[in-house]
């Protein structure tokens, strides 16, 4: 079992950080009822952990007996869809964006299914079930609109917990129907403490310097920090202060790509870069992460003067990429645009002499 799963807190009282919030959450479910929730925060901040703790607080240990199940749906156009759900007796967890543009059908059907089956004995159990929807920010607008009224209508029989990385993409109508819970990323100091604590449990010794470097690479993402720490252990134990902290190889790969773009701006580079991008995409790196990392790398190495221009172009291209569904076009077009701007600046500088 990975450390990140093994040492995941199971109880609201055992959470390592945001303790005030934990107390609040406990208050929230104390009398056995709560409004719909929208939990949001960056990756690896502990959103899921908090949701599971909350469910446990509500239903007891039964909420942890999970089973996986394939559910199938039929769209109005008679297309069969299958989606993986994780459920216990008390809750069901789905990621509706798995089925792409058909997410609306899934959202509607699941809520209606769950909501229509009432609990027979409402004294022994809670009178509602919980539906956990993950990655709500990736839902289509259609599906989000479908959620609005359904949420209100079936509130007697089910509660919905939404989980999102950013709520900018969640329509205001849903936000106003939920209690929004912000889960900020843990501070660097907290992560260091958790790393030390985890290593102690595993009876390992973690030097402070190494922990600090791990945290820096992890970008305040606790899960990633734990994974890196585990990877370091596999690589070399006992730990050394100056041990190599493995950066993810795709990050290094993007760095190389960026360096190539800065070196030469011509057709040749463009086709080379395209190969690199394809390789990243085929390896399953999400295009928005490629874009962001690439931009960061490029910005590090260019003049103040053109930075604003590049960021402006990046914003436009990134938006288009989110709109369309062939990300390679937009990535490549941005690459070309960047090279153009960069070259123009270089020529201007040379012209001055």
């Amino acid at each position: 079992m990975l450390w990140a799963d093994k040492y995941r807190p199971k109880d609201l009282a055992n959470l390592d950080y945001h303790k005030d919030q934990a107390v609040n959450l406990k208050n929230l479910v104390k009398d056995g009822d709560f409004p719909h929730l929208l939990v949001y925060g960056p990756l690896g901040a502990g959103k899921k952990t908090r949701i599971m703790c909350l469910l446990r607080e509500l239903y007891g240990a039964g909420a942890e007996r999970l089973k996986m199940e394939m559910m199938s749906f039929t769209t109005p156009s008679n297309k069969k869809l299958e989606i993986m759900t994780v459920s216990s007796n008390y809750h069901i967890e789905v990621n509706p964006s798995d089925v792409g543009i058909y997410d609306r059908v899934v959202v509607m059907d699941i809520i209606k299914n769950v909501a229509q089956s009432q609990q027979l004995n409402s004294n022994a159990q809670r009178e509602f079930k919980v539906i956990v929807l993950t990655d709500v920010d990736d839902l289509t607008k259609d599906a989000q609109h479908a959620l609005r009224r359904t949420m209100e209508k079936y509130i007697a029989n089910c509660r919905i917990i939404l989980c999102a990385t950013s709520i900018s993409r969640v329509i205001p109508a849903i936000r106003s129907r939920c209690l929004c819970i912000r889960v900020p990323a843990p501070s660097e100091e907290t992560i260091i403490n958790i790393l030390h604590y985890t290593c102690e449990k595993e009876s390992l010794k973690l030097p402070r310097g190494l922990a600090e470097r791990i945290v820096q690479v992890s970008n305040r993402n606790l899960r990633r920090a734990l994974l890196i720490c585990e990877a370091c252990k596999v690589e070399q134990y006992p730990f050394k202060e100056d041990q190599n902290v493995a950066e993810p190889d795709w990050q290094i790969f993007i760095k190389k790509t960026a360096a190539r773009m800065l070196q030469n701006q011509n057709m040749d580079t463009l086709s080379k870069v395209r190969e690199n991008l394809y390789e990243l995409l085929t390896n399953g790196i999400p295009s928005d992460i490629i874009f962001k990392t690439l931009l960061e790398e490029l910005l590090k190495n260019c003049d103040m003067g053109i930075k604003s221009k590049i960021v402006e172009e990046a914003a436009i291209h990134e938006h288009r990429m989110a709109q369309g569904n062939k990300s390679i076009f937009h990535l490549e077009s941005f690459v070309a645009k960047f090279m153009y701007i960069y070259q123009e600046m270089m020529q201007e500088m040379l012209g001055d002499f």
């Binding site: 109005p76 609005r148 106003s176 305040r220 910005l299 960021v311 914003a315 938006h319």
Partner: protein
């Protein structure tokens, strides 16, 4: 006979339930539902719509209606309250409520709406009281209907005027096709007045025994932006979070409403103003996102700040305002928060450069 059987059965079952489960908890209803206006006259602000509906309740004819306005201004509440008053107990049979969560393509409009519209309605209730001889089709969130489905409604709406009235509800009237809007009486629902919301919140908090002072409530009202539902949901959430018997404080309100603390905004502007190192801006935005503050909220607050600020001249305001619009649109459309905010930061830097 029927009544006797019914009552006998009811008595029995209720007796049983009271013996087997003596302490049945009262069902908890969200306050938004609990304090929905029961009658049309309870609806606050929206005087035109209320006036028309009240006349209709006293016997006048009801036109086809189109309600539009921002969320939480009482559109759905108004029509539900009105139909309850019009039809009394049988209102469930007389209205067909469809919203975006129901399948609402052209097929449904053709089948369900049409068949419902063709049913005749009598002018009396089962208990003999008079009631208006028509049914109401409520199409909630009509702006998310496809154009084809809207077009299919046109003729149905006219043909069945004898027996059916339509009530379309939407946020943006511009998304309803022209032929439909011209068939309806339009009512704009205004964002609610701050004092109205405050009054309502005070009433609810008294009813529910929530302890909170004027400033906390005022903060709630301010963040709600004229959206009654949001204000009430926030009030309930805050009350839940703090637990019964304790006093609500302003910090928990801010946390629940997701407002970004003012110092973050000031820091943002400060960093853009005296930009020494570009990395500062990048790290700042990175931190902002790691704190999980919503970029859309930041844009909204920045906009408020900008409009009233003395620091910028009109030219600068226009420049930043334009970018705010673009960035906000892209964010809603699925752009990445980091890159979009970076773009905004750049524009602010440029704006500062104008004055220098």
């Amino acid at each position: 006979m029927q009544a006797f059987l019914k009552s006998g059965k009811l008595g029995e079952s209720s007796g049983k339930s009271s013996s087997s489960k003596p302490a049945k908890k009262p069902k908890s209803v969200p306050w938004v539902e609990k304090y929905r206006p029961k009658t049309v006259s309870d609806v606050v602000e929206q005087s035109e719509a209320v006036a028309v509906l009240e006349q209709c309740i006293t016997g006048a004819d009801l036109p086809n209606l189109l309600f539009y306005g921002p969320p939480g201004t009482g559109k759905t509440s108004t029509i539900l309250a009105a139909s309850r008053q019009l039809f009394g107990d049988i209102y469930k049979e007389r209205i067909l409520e469809l919203n975006a969560s129901d399948e609402r393509g052209i097929q449904v409009v053709r089948d369900k709406v049409k068949t419902f519209a063709q049913l005749t309605a009598s002018g009396t209730r089962p208990d003999g009281k008079p009631c208006p001889p028509f049914k109401i089709v409520i199409l909630d969130e009509a702006d998310s209907m496809t154009h084809a489905a809207q077009a299919a409604l046109r003729r149905t709406m006219e043909k069945e005027t004898k027996t059916t009235r339509f009530c379309l509800i939407c946020n943006y009237v511009s998304r309803i096709i022209e032929p439909l809007t011209s068939r309806c009486t339009k009512f704009r629902f205004k964002p609610l007045n701050d004092s109205m919301i405050l009054e309502r919140l005070q009433y609810i908090s008294k009813e529910e025994n929530v302890e909170c002072d004027e400033t906390t409530l005022n903060a709630l009202v301010e963040t709600s932006g004229g959206d009654m539902r949001r204000a009430i949901t926030c009030l309930q959430s805050c009350a839940k979070l703090t637990g019964p018997g304790k006093k609500m404080d302003i910090n928990s309100v801010l946390e629940v409403t997701g407002v970004v603390p003012q110092h973050w905004l000031q820091d943002f502007l400060k960093i853009c103003k005296g930009l020494v190192n570009y990395n500062n801006l990048e790290t700042f935005i990175q931190n902002l996102i790691l704190e999980a503050y919503a970029a859309s909220q930041i844009l909204e607050q920045l906009n408020d700040h900008l409009v009233n600020s003395e620091e910028f001249n009109n030219m600068q305001k226009a420049l930043i305002g334009e970018k705010l619009g673009a960035v906000s649109y892209r964010l809603q459309d699925g752009g990445s928060e980091y890159i979009q905010l970076l773009d905004l930061g750049n524009t602010i830097i440029q704006a500062y450069a104008l004055s220098a």
